[in-house]
């Protein structure tokens, strides 16, 4: 027996007898196996965000650890670790992300996670790896929030939890499967409580500014050059979903304004306006209520119908009539908006804005400038001039195509309008705005999405990147800002029925497969995709998009009034219920009564006999009880002998196999005896 002193020595005392000290602080092999699998599962979704360097280091560490696990290799020397750390730092630096960006943080986290793997020796190290694993699972949700990823991460969560469970099980007996089962059970039982906390825990405004994920997200940008919007049609990624309260507006009315490009610079358009509208004429009658669930854009602009306002605490109206969020949209953002009727008397625009909205480069596109001046001189009003421009587009051989020729140089708009005559929405809108501005009429390019597809399953509208569109607005003192879509003149189908209807077959063939399916070329695949979208939509609606505004509304409905006391009470009641359910499951049936089936069968018999005065004594076996009763009544041996033998055999002879048939026979024998006793005795 080892001395007691040796066994309580610190875990890292290398001189301590290995047999006595080691076991207590070693990581069980079961845990190691689960940790390695769990860690791989946690790192996999990061492959998108990480540089190849970090992935390589991670794989190398995994290989090293596997070899340690198999007993082939030793723990790495110090210089090996130093090289690996250097490789990780170089890897983070080489990704080109800022030192304090979220990507850099994630890279460092995954590197630490991987490096700890080869360093891990005792239980505390194992706990560090487990905690890092949980952390990495959570951080991944800053980059993506899809339902599928969430389901995947539930699996990773269970794996990591299983590793923690296995650390506390009897090491010689533990196997991965029971650990996994218990971890899954624990997670399942934690879910009711999680839901209660998720619903009720007060959502707060950010406490300080944090680095944001990089803007590698597909979507509209705040500067547009001809060709940019056409590129977006290559993507079938979702831009946002809309739930409309009431009838869905027709496709031609679904102009989702996002950006207003007021500044013309270097042959392109820029959207810079972020100022709040101060005296927007409110309130006016409500025309349409809707809610938008915007996918992460990493930008602040929001998409809304014209003349919309929102009461969301984070959303404000800009000077150019758009909705803008106070913070960049990093996860699905849910906001309600209301479209109002057009104001009767439009607000006048300031001189400053008039100048901005009529600015062009006097050197560029001289032919368009000349045309604009000629048109206003001929037609007089902006409206008449617009009509003439649209007529010209209709009349003359203009073409709508995804892949127009490139129009180089400063005079690109001239090249499009007078020579190429084929282009995408932004070509037409740009040329129109340029013409109007040449005539001294305030006009601006507007970027956003047009149309969208209604998902019949849940009735919401899906707007995808290929729905991106550009149109124009001009200002008239009578009308206010008036929307003009020159694309409608060249390709009316685009406005009425969506992109696919407007594209030539050559253009359609150039689209990626999934976009093509979504646009409606494949029916079956399309319906599956719509179903998935409907599920994803509900996920966004209730989980990802659940923020302080949604919470406030929901709690208002649930509690009547939202205040700290009510929320506190609701948390207590909900938490108590959530935990109570688990307690019931755990403690209920803690002591199941395993009575022998023969005893159970006999109990009915002896209770019936007690009514006749024959009470079974506690120490009597069933056979002894029958024997005593039979003796008292004076039954013959032949009448009870077989039953007594059978009782003893079934109860006490483990060597005899028996089943339902024997049990039924025994019951009928007992019934017969009961009958005989009931009528054969006067007691």
């Amino acid at each position: 027996m080892a001395s007691a002193d040796a066994t309580v020595r610190a875990p890292d005392a290398e001189t301590a007898p290995a047999a006595a000290v080691g076991v207590a602080h070693q990581i069980p092999r079961n845990t190691l196996a689960l940790l390695m699998v769990g860690q791989t599962a946690v790192i996999l979704p990061y492959l998108q965000q990480l540089s190849i360097w970090i992935v390589a280091v991670g794989l190398f560490c995994g290989m090293w650890r596997t070899n340690i696990y198999l007993g082939r290799w030793d723990y790495p020397k110090r210089w090996v670790k130093a090289v690996l750390v250097a490789a990780c730092i170089a890897g983070v630096a080489l990704t080109g992300v800022g030192a304090f960006s979220l990507e850099a943080m994630a890279s460092l986290l995954v590197s630490m996670f991987a490096l700890k793997l080869i360093e891990m020796k005792n239980r505390r190290d194992a706990y560090v790896v487990i905690f890092l694993g949980y952390f990495a699972i959570a951080i991944q949700f800053l980059f993506e929030q899809q339902l599928l990823l969430a389901l995947y991460q539930v699996g990773s969560f269970i794996l990591v939890t299983a590793a923690m469970v296995s650390l506390n099980q009897l090491q010689v007996a533990a196997r991965p499967l029971p650990s996994l089962k218990l971890a899954a059970l624990l997670a399942a039982q934690a879910i009711p409580l999680t839901l209660v906390m998720f619903l009720l825990f007060p959502r707060m405004a950010p406490l300080w500014t944090v680095p944001l994920p990089g803007s590698s997200v597909t979507g509209l940008s705040d500067s547009v050059r001809p060709g940019d919007v056409a590129n977006l049609t290559q993507s079938d990624e979702l831009a946002f979903r809309v739930v409309v309260n009431g009838p869905m507006p027709p496709p031609s009315q679904r102009y989702w304004r996002g950006l207003v490009y007021s500044d013309f610079e270097d042959g392109g358009w820029k959207a810079r306006e972020r100022r709040r509208a101060r005296d927007y004429p409110l309130p006016r009658s409500t025309d349409l209520e809707y809610e938008v669930l915007l996918e992460p854009t990493m930008q602040t602009w929001l998409y809304a119908l014209e003349h919309s306002t929102s009461v969301h605490s984070n959303v404000y109206l800009t000077l150019d009539g758009r909705l803008e969020s106070s913070d960049p949209i990093m996860s699905v953002f849910r906001y309600r908006a209301v479209r109002h009727d057009k104001p009767d008397s439009p607000a006048p625009i300031s001189e400053q804005i008039r100048i901005r909205e009529t600015t062009i480069d006097p050197e560029a596109n001289p032919r368009l400038q000349a045309l604009g001046r000629a048109l206003i001189a001929e037609h007089g009003t902006p409206m008449a001039m617009t009509r003439e421009i649209l007529n010209r587009i209709r009349r003359e051989p203009y073409a709508y195509t995804l892949s127009p020729p490139t129009y180089p140089g400063r005079d690109a708009f001239d090249g499009f309008w007078f020579e190429g005559r084929s282009g995408f929405c932004e070509h037409y809108a740009s040329a129109y705005v340029y013409l109007m501005r040449s005539a001294g009429i305030p006009a601006r390019l507007v970027g956003g999405y047009l149309g969208g597809e209604v998902n019949e399953l849940s009735g919401h509208l899906m707007v995808r990147q290929y729905d991106a569109h550009a149109w124009a607005e001009f200002y008239d003192p009578e009308l206010g800002w008036f929307r003009v879509d020159p694309t409608a003149a060249v390709a009316p189908q685009r406005v009425e029925r969506g992109l696919s209807a407007a594209l030539s077959s050559a253009d359609l063939a150039s689209l990626p497969l999934l976009s093509s399916a979504r646009i409606g070329n494949w029916d079956l695949a399309g319906s599956v995709l719509r179903w998935m979208d409907s599920v994803e939509h509900r996920w966004n609606l209730w989980v990802v998009g659940y923020d302080s505004n949604v919470q406030y509304r929901l709690l208002g409905d649930l509690l009547g009034e939202v205040n700290a006391a009510r929320i506190g009470i609701a948390i207590l009641i909900g938490g108590g219920l959530g935990l109570g359910v688990v307690a019931l499951v755990i403690f209920w049936g803690r002591r199941p009564v395993h009575r022998h089936p023969v005893e159970r069968a006999f109990r009915g018999f002896s209770e019936a006999l007690a009514a006749y005065g024959y009470v079974r004594r506690p120490e009597e076996s069933p056979a002894a009880f029958v024997r005593r009763v039979a003796d008292e009544v004076g039954l013959k041996e032949a009448q009870v002998g077989p039953l007594i033998a059978e009782l003893d055999t079934l109860l006490y002879n483990p060597g005899v196999a028996w089943g339902g048939r024997e049990l039924r026979a025994l019951r009928s024998q007992l019934r017969r005896l009961q009958f005989r006793l009931a009528f054969g005795t006067t007691r």
């Binding site: 027996m1 080892a2 007691a4 309580v8 020595r9 610190a10 006595a20 076991v23 207590a24 239980r123 706990y127 905690f131 949980y134 952390f135 959570a138 951080i139 800053l142 929030q145 969430a150 969560f157 939890t161 469970v165 650390l167 506390n168 099980q169 009897l170 090491q171 010689v172 624990l186 997670a187 039982q189 934690a190 009711p192 409580l193 999680t194 906390m197 998720f198 825990f201 959502r203 405004a205 950010p206 406490l207 300080w208 944090v210 990093m330 996860s331 699905v332 989980v543 990802v544 998009g545 923020d547 938490g575 959530g578 935990l579 688990v582 307690a583 755990i586 403690f587 803690r590 002591r591």
Partner: protein, 330 residues
């Protein structure tokens, strides 16, 4: 039954510090009175987060902070799932100890300075298995009880015996970190253990006892001089005093008387037969008893107050050792 010497995170010495507090000890005596059979319930099981548990709490707080700053619903989700996991674990950890019955299964005597073996039977209710249960005395090593495949397990614990007599090692620590190691549920039970501790043996030579009676004795020392035993012919070297001169006068042959001592053949262990103070004497007698048994000699014990007639064998030895262990203590 596993004999893996497993300890938790905290060194035993630190636990003892916690344990030794007099006031705490008195409070424990009131709360969990000594009994030879104790069933654990909410009355006598304590539960508190471990250091790992507090770190886990820190992780949850960190994640909630991140969720607030990034306004990320799913990060809230992960944080709440972890928090709920912690709360659910409280029930699990408590349930793991609650309902267990502990009883003394036996104590094997030992010598002072060595380990006494004390067996504790741990029985769980039917139904759910219990995992990761450790028990032990602060002075000894924690052992794991295996209660997954079986309803009952007997755990052998070893405690260093400080002095002879009946030894109560104090309160037994029963603890578990199951299932996640975030919480520790534990209890201190007093099972009224009374393990017999024999004196530390000191080995020496058998005393040459010279008393005895002819009728009981056996010739052991032929060179003794107490009693006449035989006559034989003289050989050079025989004491001249023993020559029978009358016989020489008759037969011209030198004959010598032979004397022998009737040494007590059955060894008597007495306090007077050994040197030192009482403890040393008892130790020496213990050593002699062991030595005699090993040599398969009969021996008896006479302590004045107690007298055990000579015999041999393990049972006799145990009886003698017990008397030696308890001598002067009752």
């Amino acid at each position: 039954m596993s004999d893996l010497p497993l300890t938790g995170d905290a060194p035993v010495a630190r636990r003892r510090e916690l344990f030794v507090g007099k006031r705490f000890s008195r409070w424990l005596d009131r709360r969990i009175p000594p009994k030879d059979r104790i069933t654990l319930s909410q009355k006598n099981v304590f539960i508190f987060p471990t250091a790992t548990g507090f770190a886990f709490g820190g992780l949850v707080a960190l994640l909630i902070l991140g969720a607030i700053n990034y306004q990320a619903s799913l990060v809230y989700g992960v944080a709440f799932l972890l928090g709920s996991l912690f709360l659910v674990t409280i029930l699990y950890t408590f349930r793991n100890l609650s309902g267990l019955t502990l009883e003394l299964a036996g104590a094997r005597p030992g010598f002072v300075g060595e380990d006494v073996e004390i067996s504790i039977r741990v029985t769980r209710p039917e139904g759910r298995a219990r995992e990761g249960i450790q028990l032990g005395w602060p002075e000894g090593i924690l052992q794991w009880a295996e209660l997954t495949g079986q309803v009952s397990d007997t755990v052998r614990l070893y405690v260093r015996a400080p002095s002879r007599g009946y030894f109560n090692p104090g309160r037994l620590l029963v603890e578990t970190y199951f299932p996640l190691g975030l919480l520790r549920a534990w209890t201190w039970v007093d099972l009224d253990v009374n393990a017999l501790v024999y004196p530390r043996p000191v080995f020496g030579d058998f005393p040459r006892s010279v008393s005895g009676h002819r009728d009981e004795g056996q010739l052991i020392d032929p060179l003794g001089s107490d009693d006449f035993s035989d006559i034989k012919s003289y050989r050079p070297g025989d004491p001249v005093r023993h020559i029978i001169w009358r016989s020489y006068a008759r037969s011209d042959e030198l004959m010598v008387k032979q004397y022998a001592s009737y040494v007590e053949p059955r060894l008597w262990l007495t306090l007077d037969g050994v040197s030192g103070d009482l403890e040393e004497k008892v130790s020496r007698l213990t050593g002699l008893a062991l030595k005699a048994t090993r040599a398969d000699r009969e021996f008896g014990l006479d302590l004045g107050t107690v007298r055990i007639s000579p015999a041999r064998g393990e049972a006799h030895l145990e009886q003698v050792l017990k008397e030696l262990a308890l001598h002067g203590l009752r």
